[in-house]
Amino acid sequence: MADSDAVTRVLFEDFAPSAVRLFYAIGYAAIAVFLYGVYAQVRKYRRGAPAGIPLNLWPRLESMLEILLSHRMINRRDRKAGEAHRLIFYGFVLLFLGTAIITLDYDIVGPLFGVHFWHGEFYLWFSLVLDVAGVMLAGGLLYMMYRRGWLKPPKLDYARPDRAPTDPDYDRSNYRREDWAFLWTLLAIAATGYVLEALRLVWLQGRPAVWDTRWWSPVGAALAEAYRSAGLSAATAGVLRRELWWFHGMLALLFIALIPFTKVKHIFTAMGSLMFRDPQAAQRLPREPADLPRAGVQFITDFNWKQLLSLDACTKCGRCHEACPARAVGAPLSPRDVILSLREFANKTLGAAQLPAQAELDVHGKAPGQVAMETLWACRTCMACVEVCPVAIEHVPIIVQMRRKLVEDGEMDPQLRKTLQTIHKTGNSFGESRRKRAAWTKALSFPVKDARKEPVDVLWFVGDYASFDPRNQKVTAGFATLLHDAGVDFGILYDGESNAGNDVRRVGEEGLYEVLAEGNINTLSGATFNSIVTTDPHSYNTIRNEYPDFGGQYEIEHYTTLLLKLMQQGCVSVSRQLDLRVTFHDPCHLGRFNQGYEAPREILKRLGCELVEMGRCRSNSFCCGAGGGRIWIPDPVGAEKPAQNRMREAARIEGLQVFVVSCPKDLTMFEDALKTSGLEGKFVVRELIELVREALIQ
């Protein structure tokens, strides 16, 4: 091996000093453009409202890096794209680090301290690693091109369900052009890098320190061998290398300069969005400070900086678009398009040098960049989009905050308006008298304790559907019997209970939610109990995750975990195996919201049921369509409903006997959907409680 000092790459070799100066000038200009771009973006975010979140940067940085380095979010539901991105990411990071090392050696420690380390063995390993990195980058990019150009997954076609083709902002060709430009530019930088490397080898083939170590740059060396055998001379290679060097250098500088202005910025914005993400974003919606001049979000400046930042993190990967139940049934909503609309709107308004007049900042409407009320009301707040977003965009709080403004203006379906008034008046969505809330207990052979009057071990928060819906009342009475027979000391709040408010809050009626939450907390504070149980995942979510913000800290569980414990303890013992082929529907608020995936499955196993999962299960469970107040909004006549879509999915399971649910609203939604989708008779919809009761019969 040659002398260690000679084993390196001489930078700007054979360049006139003026050429080097020119390169530096252009380099500084590119960095200046980059910095201005960063400034403009930061100015855009700062025009938003304060986020009011604790910054605690270290833990946030740590968790961001964990997601970033592991790529676990981007790998979900599109493994190949995730792996290709991993190649691009790590290739890019290594190449970036390589450039940084050269800069450190050549521009910093070299001139300042006369220290150079970029030679010898280090240099050789460096070359090898970067060559491999280049292959990773190019490989990833080529797969992405193959995917966009040949596989063409529908989630990447950018078709907008919220706009008609005649609308001015329907066309998404610019996005498509940008996608391709991004891929081609990076690929061109990588490819020209290899060619440069090869040309340099051919040019310097007479220099042993270069030529003898060429296989440390395997791709470059292989290309060089090919050029040589094609008859390329050292002198010609030298000339070509100088021309190509400029092309490669300019392309790289252009890339850097354009980062803040193009989708490339997701490198930074995604990291920012991940760093400031709220792991409870959809489970616990933001409170509305009392001193706000208006309700919710009306103007783009009403979003906080973190939300504005996350809009820029979207890479249009389409995972939310694919997961959205509203989109799946043709409703005018795609979470992706809400984000892209708002981003376009923010760029146009907040991105301008001067902040436009407030009238031009209204994000509600049908003009380009605005979000129509039909779109906002289509959302089921099922959290499928938030849960799957690889860059931690929190669509649901954005949509709900915008709904708050619609609610304030009364811009909602008449039936929803009526329901909200009813809930305010009677404390339940059925418009029934409070006195009738516990009417279902009359059918029982034993009295149910009034938890307001005597201490109980377990306080059962029943919820509206379980209390008032005649079909669900049977299940409710069944669960009461289960608890009673298992010897559980339980009680209910009778007419002291009100609607828990989970869906009212997701509708955007924050004021009414506060009334309900505070009312229930007040009632609960007058009762003595150890823990709360509920059969209603909606009540479960809000009591568990949102009541603490109002001073209500409770230990609460969904009935599935309590029932499982009772079975494990032998308090509830199955006397026969049901031998049924079943599938289980994860309720959004139990599964995705609160990770209650295992208990119901474990119970089914104990009942002797053969569980066949649907394609969309667990975190990818498909919403029944009732969430976010949609149960109070009529679905369009004629169009498919999410619940019907789900029934068709279940019907594809060979020999399915029972579609098992563990949520009162699910029971209502799916029993209806089974009838209306013409699948009645193929299988039945049952509450898990009903199956348990059946298995107890000797």
Binding site: V407, E408, G410, R417, Q421, K425, R435, E510
Partner: protein
């Protein structure tokens, strides 16, 4: 330009209600109170005139005759955008019939001097359909009832309207002002009062007036000032309907029998 909107806090009966000891009303604990549905429409009609008027400012004042608990109803009206609220109460007003209530509203109208006074066509609880029109008589103002459409531009000296007659026939009419108009359901779509707006309205003052403030003698209200007196309230025999019991299938079978019999007779 001013519109006075008379609103009532009505009561609906809760489950298993009980009649009061004196047999003249229902026990108060079984009364579920709310803004009269018709009044919601009349307030909305006033708000529409207010919001459509650019040249002439329009003030919408709501008035209700009732004890303190009626404030809740007035606050709902304030939340919907009414500029001011007036509540009149005096123990002497207890047991007033609609005409006695009208005397109090008329006194408020004299004091406020609006161009238009709106009232609901009737109240959902006692359905006299009398208060608004009686107020007009006491003021000697022109009046019309059961409006399903109103066209009025602030500043104009007349208002055009349609009332809906039996069989859906519409009668287009015109009235001089000031006038009392009673509003029918369906004339518009009342707006939603968000809880946020209701809470904010809690900060708005409600003028509470007594009979003395309005120079209305106690003899003009209560039983003395009324044209009728409740003698007895009772739960009627459960109609004459013959109830069909059984499972849904059994019920349906019986209904089908009845249909066939009756249809046979009809044909």
């Amino acid at each position: 330009m001013k519109i006075l909107v008379a609103v009532k806090q009505v009561a609906a009966l809760d489950e298993d209600f009980e009649i009061r000891g004196d047999g003249r009303d229902v026990e108060a604990e079984f009364l579920l109170r709310d803004l009269n549905e018709w009044d919601d429409f009349s307030l909305e009609e006033a708000m529409r005139i207010k919001e459509a008027s650019s040249a002439i400012p329009v003030e919408v004042v709501v008035v209700s005759i009732g004890p303190e608990e009626a404030d809740e109803t007035l606050r709902k009206c304030l939340a919907k955008g009414a500029d001011r609220a007036i509540r009149v109460w005096d123990d002497a007003i207890e047991n007033s019939d609609p005409i006695a209530i009208a005397r109090v509203i008329a006194a408020v109208a004299r004091r406020e001097a609006p161009e238009l006074l709106f009232a609901g066509t009737q109240s959902s609880d006692h359905a006299f359909a009398a208060t608004g029109i009686a107020t007009a008589a006491l003021l000697d103002w022109p009046h019309a009832a059961v409006l399903t459409q109103l066209t009025y531009t602030p500043g104009a000296r007349t208002a055009r309207f349609r009332r809906e007659l039996e069989g859906g026939l519409l009668h287009e009419m015109e009235t001089d002002l000031p006038a009392v108009l009673t509003i029918q359901l369906g004339i518009n779509t009342p707006r939603y009062a968000s809880l946020r707006a209701i809470k904010q309205a809690a900060a708005k003052p409600i003028d509470v007036l007594s009979l003395a403030d309005l120079s209305v003698p106690a003899s003009a209200v209560g039983e003395a000032g009324s044209l009728s007196r409740v003698r007895r309230m009772y739960v009627p025999e459960k109609g004459r309907a013959q109830m069909i019991e059984g499972s849904v299938e059994e019920q349906a079978r019986r209904v089908v029998e009845i249909i066939r019999e009756a249809a046979g007779g009809a044909a």
